[in-house]
């Protein structure tokens, strides 16, 4: 991967009707937080049909496990699990998360998302800023706590935008 291309991978996923929610700091960026990140985290819907769509995109992007010297490729059984699949693709490092926080999967989170429209006209679901702040507060690791001031300030500023 020569250059992280976040927008392109989101377009690719959306174009195949893959159901996923953008979480973590890329969600923060999409909401306007002036932060940076090196990977894209998504919570994907763990149904056979959706995982087949996700696997097609992952295959096109030569996805392999990031920390596996053998170049292991993700399989349906991996993506059906609630665990975290840390992948490297030709566009960006991609973390496919079965669940986040206190056992929250796609169905648990979908009511706490906002739909953002991409330039292609396709829309993606992104964890809402209040929900993102909540997940960071609950995780409460040093890296989560460090992100809170800028996320809270972004929420406050976004409420001023007419």
């Amino acid at each position: 991967m020569s250059r992280a291309r976040f927008a392109e991978i989101l377009q690719r996923l959306a174009a195949t009707d893959t159901e996923f929610i953008v979480v973590e700091m890329t969600a923060g960026v999409l909401h306007g937080a002036p932060v940076t990140t090196l990977d894209l985290d998504i919570v994907h819907r763990r149904t056979p049909g959706n995982i087949a769509r996700l696997l097609r995109v992952l295959s096109e992007l030569d996805a392999v496990y990031r920390h596996d010297a053998r170049g292991l490729r993700p399989q349906e059984s991996h993506l059906m699990s609630p665990g975290h699949q840390l992948l490297s693709t030709s566009l960006v490092d991609l973390d496919c998360l079965g669940m986040i926080g206190d056992g929250l999967g796609y169905e648990d989170l979908q009511d706490r998302t906002v739909a953002l429209t991409l330039a292609s006209g396709r829309s993606i679901r992104v964890l809402s800023l209040p929900a993102l702040i909540e997940t960071k507060e609950q995780a409460a690791r040093p890296k989560d706590l460090a992100a809170l001031p800028v996320l809270r300030a972004t929420l406050e500023e976004s409420k001023r935008v007419p």
């Binding site: 250059r3 992280a4 927008a7 330039a119 500023e157 001023r160």
Partner: protein, 64 residues
């Protein structure tokens, strides 16, 4: 859980630095909010690319 209040007054001049009590640059946030979501991602892509390029240029060369 801490609640976010909107009681902070907006600055009179949007071009002046506006650092809040936590050290967060509010002007930077407003600049990001003025962009579309995809433009925000491009900003991150550009930043990461530039940072990685500098890192690569400064990686210690292996001795032969």
């Amino acid at each position: 859980m801490r609640t976010v209040s909107s009681s902070r007054p907006a600055p009179a001049d949007p071009l002046l630095p506006d650092i809040d009590e936590n050290g967060v640059d509010r002007a930077q946030i407003r600049a990001m909010l003025a962009l579309s979501p995809e433009e925000r991602l491009r900003k991150v892509e550009e930043y990461v690319a530039a940072a990685l390029e500098i890192r690569q240029l400064n990686e210690p060369r292996s001795l032969r």
